[in-house]
Symmetry: C6
Subunit: 69 residues, 6 copies
């Protein structure tokens, strides 16, 4: 829980670009759920997804993939 | 198990706000279960969810997402 | 495997109280299995659940939630 | 992978007793598979289960629970 | 999150060869999803898969296997 | 990702013997998939399975069990 976000990693940078540009994303979870929205922020444990104004905190451990539209 | 809660992380702060304000949350687990209630506390391993007075200890490793109503 | 149980964490303390008072618990696993019984002990890797005298060693990594009756 | 088995943990000790006494165990995996047999050894990553002479290496990360008969 | 890619590991080297040579891969996820494409890059947390120009960020924790065609 | 393979562990040694002797193995994944083949190598993150000449990189985190034929 005390790990910092490694801002030099390609995955961190890709996500930073996606959230800065408010690109639409599709996040598939291990439950099979698919969330469509934009990213508000990322931290080492979670991504915060905005789906039509609804704040959803998504655990990274539960993410299968994220597609950039 | 000896990790401390990183109170500076956005996800920790979002959850602290949610539990302080007793906001209703929907917690989706990797089992497909959905818990509706409020948060009592969080620690590095678990969230404690109050569902109509019933105490449920939820392992973070089993959480897919948490929606704030 | 060498991590110690952090006895200061709320989740550890809640579980210690539950096992000391022999409170009935419902443990839901990621497999969908539900175990009903009491706790014998906890360590950093497992919970030991007593279901009618049957000893069941449950891996924390496989727990979705634990409800206190 | 370099973690050592913490022989002081209750779960390690319970498993050591089970394998020393060749007690029958039922191991439920997150896949839903159930293995019945005895334990040959444990290490920090795996349990070695003997099911009628067949050697099965089981990853701890995939174990839901282990019942001692 | 601050772990670096261990470029000496056989799995890292295999993936480096695959992405350098733009070999077609099939990535099976724990959700059951199968992604077919080529690799753009790897980092300690994710693989970036290119499926017909679509960028998909795949979490390593959600990968079951990767087949090289 | 920088963890080294602990060659002293029984599970590492069992797998080394299996791959050296080209013993047939059955690898069951958490997805339910079963791979039959031989092992080419192991590292801390993955096993490389050869299924009729097809190279499959299997993540350890996705393995339920491995049976030696």
């Amino acid at each position: 829980m005390t790990l910092e976000l490694d801002t030099g990693l390609p995955s961190t940078k890709l996500l930073q670009g996606v959230l800065r540009d408010k690109q639409a994303v599709e996040v598939k979870l291990v439950t099979g759920d698919i969330l469509n929205g934009t990213l508000r922020w990322q931290d080492p444990n979670c991504l915060c997804v905005d789906t039509e104004g609804q704040v959803t905190l998504v655990w990274r451990s539960a993410i299968a993939y994220l597609k950039v539209s």
